[in-house]
Symmetry: C2
Subunit: 320 residues, 2 copies
DNA sequence: AATACGAATCGAAACGTTTCGAATAAAAGA
DNA sequence: TCTTTTATTCGAAACGTTTCGATTCGTATT
């Protein structure tokens, strides 16, 4: 592996001069700088990150920590972050679970965007206290160097339910996501707000965990219990909505005639599923871009506040 | 930030002793080791990765380099890799494009799994020559420390086309993926092989690039040209197949009656689309696991060869 | 009592950079 | 001609670890 020592020797200069040349320091004359860079190119020299990071005490890397790689929702956020990070001469890494934990603790990133629920508050607080700023998504956590970014779950859910009430639905139900999820809580809060404003019951509440399987289970149980079905069911995300609809359609329950359904996220599938699913679209790509931009501003000391909210809008389709 | 120096001082031992304790070296007595570890926990000490990596000349990180984050196909591979990497005490990072390039060149990973087409051969050869092994997917590239892993595209495509010939289709077409793609080439090779064996024309060939949009465009052109339609169209992946079907269905062309369609990848959407899409399933998760396992074996010097092939099987659905 | 040994610990060099302050040489001012 | 200034380059320390080769000390062997 060719080091800066090799480069300096080849160019007949000191190590420090070589370093200054590589980093485009103005005090090196144009000629030597160009000569050194030329030799660097020839030798295929690239600075060793470990050494550089050690000395500089930063990595130029932004880490994104996700909850597994399969979620269809977050890939667009990632693409948005990627674009913005690259545009600002940072590098991006995406990691998950235990690996992410290690990367954070061992100071392998300058800043973090945290989606991963498996990273506990304690960890985040420790890391941010040590000077690594983090934006947390779908999570309530405050402290030095910690920034929250949410989507306006409550407002948009409220709006959807109000519209459904206007359309005449009487028994409005909710299929919840993971109970820890801030998103889930606030979606439900919007639902409750709309219902109570209209003096409608909030009894149609069913527990899920954001997976399609949990939606399917809720659907099955609703059918087998033979209890009164709601006439409109708002699911905390599209995947569950599809699970629910799978279950209903297996039993020839007609959507939206027997029961209307809506989801959240506008995943690609929701427009291909039959009936097409009414859902709430989040501008994930844009959100990702803005998150990255905000974090980089913090890192560059251009800002010490993050005010990024994802924009949502309701997409009415066949399922209502 | 607490360093090993702080830890050593607090414990009243030398830096080297502290280091040995952290790394569970047998020459440190049980008592001091435990005492030091206890203090480390209290101080919330975590070794600085840059310093460790610099000294050890390795990072314990496996990098996966993807072609953007949105592809539905690769998320399962990632999950498989993630599982296996974590099980073997390595960390995983996923990156893309320019960031990935930097991480590789600056030696931030011990080994690489490369899906990203934007990383050119030259780069990969340079990096692997410097001792970082890489497995390349969907790509022909050989050299020291370079390993290829493919799926058996040719065989499975051959098998599908033979079956379709048996079913009586006469005008069999192919919608290609990106021309550079090894996958695409070999899928087509299987098609050609089956067709020529049966003295059937290979003239129904249409250019795509793996995106849904390109499939849609092919569909539109096929319709507008008013030329003879094939009776079966094999698309190099599901996304294009769906694009094609979108176009056809807009013009009330019946699938599979007017034209039968098949794709490749078995993305989730393919079972929800109407008609359900016949496709070829690849065991991505398992593939990912095996890739990671193989790479780690190479890194641990347990092996100097990688023989990982993804398993495929045809899933017959409504579109044929 | 002297020696040898092994277990536990330590000191210091090294990894490849960056960066501060000093040194050198040439140009400018006196 | 001598001093000052400016432009360029250099030497060395530092970043936080790991690890080699001592050193120390208590115990077993002679």
């Amino acid at each position: 592996m060719v080091t800066i020592k090799d480069l300096a020797k080849k160019a007949g200069v000191s190590i420090s001069t070589a370093s200054y040349a590589i980093n485009d320091d103005p005090r090196i004359s144009k000629e030597t700088k160009e000569r050194i860079l030329e030799i660097a190119r020839k030798l295929n020299y690239h600075p060793n990150a470990a050494a550089r990071n050690l000395k500089r005490k930063r990595t130029n890397i932004i880490g994104v920590f996700v909850d597994g790689f399969k979620g269809p929702v977050y890939s667009k956020i990632l693409d948005g972050i990627h674009l913005e990070v690259t545009n600002n001469n940072f590098n991006i890494i995406v990691s998950s679970g235990e690996s992410g934990r290690n990367l954070l603790l061992e100071q392998q990133v300058d800043g973090a965007i945290i989606i991963d629920r498996s990273l506990d508050d304690e960890l985040i607080i420790h890391v941010t206290n040590n000077g690594i700023p983090a934006i947390v998504l779908d999570r309530r956590l405050s402290g030095k160097n910690i920034y929250e970014s949410m989507l306006n779950n409550e407002e948009i859910s409220y709006e959807l339910i109000k519209e459904m009430i206007k359309r005449g639905y009487k028994k409005i139900g909710y299929v919840s996501g993971s109970p820890k999820s801030y998103d889930n809580l606030h979606r439900y809060k919007g639902v409750v707000k709309a219902l109570t404003e209209h003096n409608m019951p909030t009894t149609y509440y069913y527990k899920g965990d954001f997976t399609k399987e949990s939606g399917y289970k809720v659907g099955k149980e609703l059918i087998s219990k033979n209890s009164e079905l709601p006439d409109f069911l708002f699911c905390a995300n599209d995947e569950m909505a599809i699970g629910v609809m799978d279950a209903f359609q297996e039993h020839n329950i007609k959507i939206p005639d027997d029961i209307a359904i809506a989801g959240f996220d506008n995943i690609e599938l929701s427009q291909y599923y039959r009936p097409k699913l009414t859902t709430i679209d989040v501008e994930h790509f844009k959100w990702g871009r803005e998150l990255a931009k905000a974090l980089i501003n913090v890192l560059n000391n251009n800002s010490d506040t993050v005010d990024v909210k994802a924009k949502c809008k309701i997409i009415y389709r066949e399922s209502c």
